[in-house]
Symmetry: C2
């Protein structure tokens, strides 16, 4: 079937939690979901920092005045959310995800972590024993519904209150077809974004690794590049 935004489920009532919501990527996604009118929970190891970030986001230009953006520690956020975005640094990924296995049981988990290394020549993809960050999360969260998505969104664009529209496709890798519809609908809540199914979890590695290419593209063209899938 062709891409059809009108067939997407209504996700406006879902509470979206962001684990690592005080980092650049997590905070940026929290801003966009808050602007879209989702109830957003910011998670952090420190509940205090999460509450502070939530208070800042709630008053940002573009966020509706009645928006519900609150903060808490990662465990509380995992428990209270319907959909949980994992947006932590790669070096804390396994430990953070493993510790949340119980509160994340039955939940939708979106992993947007890109395992990258950096040296004098710039960014490069790290080898991951499980194949990808998303596969690592899926292994650690056997009772959750896990996908890779939102790997290519530019944190500076997400956080820029002047920008109303971000034109890119959110590539979604998962074994769970119904999940594609839900996560695709969430992506489409952000003006300019579409969610596009992009294969099974075993093909998530190259999507995560492509973040290294996007960094190279951004350096060369002074851009905040994303991907649009053509003919879909």
């Amino acid at each position: 079937m062709a891409y059809n935004a009108s067939r997407q489920p209504d996700v406006s009532g879902l509470t979206v939690g962001i684990i690592g919501g005080t980092g650049d990527q997590g905070r940026g996604l929290a801003c966009r979901f808050a602007r879209a009118g989702q109830t957003v929970l910011i998670g952090s190891r420190s509940a205090e920092r999460a509450v502070q970030a939530a208070e800042e986001i709630a008053v940002m230009p573009g966020v509706p005045s009645g928006a519900t953006v609150t903060g808490g520690d990662n465990d509380e956020v995992a428990r209270r959310s319907d959909v949980v975005v994992i947006a932590v640094p790669w070096d804390g990924h396994a430990a953070t995800v493993a510790a949340l296995a119980q509160p994340l049981a039955g939940k939708i988990v979106i992993d947007c972590v890109n395992p990258l290394g950096f040296d004098k020549q710039g960014p490069y993809a790290l080898l991951v024993a499980e194949g990808s960050a998303a596969q690592q999360a899926a292994g650690l969260l056997p009772d959750s519904r896990v996908c890779a998505a939102f790997n290519h969104v530019s944190a500076p664009l997400l956080a820029d209150p002047e920008i109303d529209r971000i034109d890119l496709d959110v590539l979604i890798c998962t074994e769970d077809r119904e999940l594609v519809d839900v996560v695709g609908a969430l992506a489409a809540r952000i003006p300019g974004m579409r969610g596009v199914y992009a294969g099974r979890l075993r093909n998530a590695h190259q999507i995560e690794a492509f973040a290294a290419n996007l960094i190279a593209i951004n350096k060369r063209y002074k851009s905040h590049a994303g991907i649009r899938v053509t003919d879909v």
Copy 2:
């Protein structure tokens, strides 16, 4: 600098050779370069099959009547071309490339090979000892100028004479900045295509592997998908 098509070099006089020019991908690229007015040499292990493919392409709708499309064995094509596209099956890649090291010395080599495996669950990226097909080629061709490019072009679209325009970006990975301009200009000879620098050769793996995702996308959306880079 931003992407700027007007600053591209004139590549209209370059002879483009296709190693593996009788396969789907190679033949499709040969069609498009012939339509664009490049002198095209089709290479194959069998000179006879190459000559036959060249004769068929020369009379295809859209190919100018004065177009020069000829065929020969891979060695001859490598010698007589300015730019050589490697479009052979992955399982013959190393042997074919290694055998052409001498005739390819000093030449521009574009590797568009995607090392994929297939099983009941569909396509997946193969692990490559050198990192990627392009890195393998670069290692085997120390005297050539090697890049990865044209990894995501759809063979059915390339070969369809009814299609005048193919909207996608050709991602180019290489250490050689000047090569980006030449290969980018060649890509831009095909209406709808742009060549976009996408990082060093060490980041070519994920671009090759992404072909598996494109196959999954095509299956799901009944498309011939490619990538467009946004904000470039």
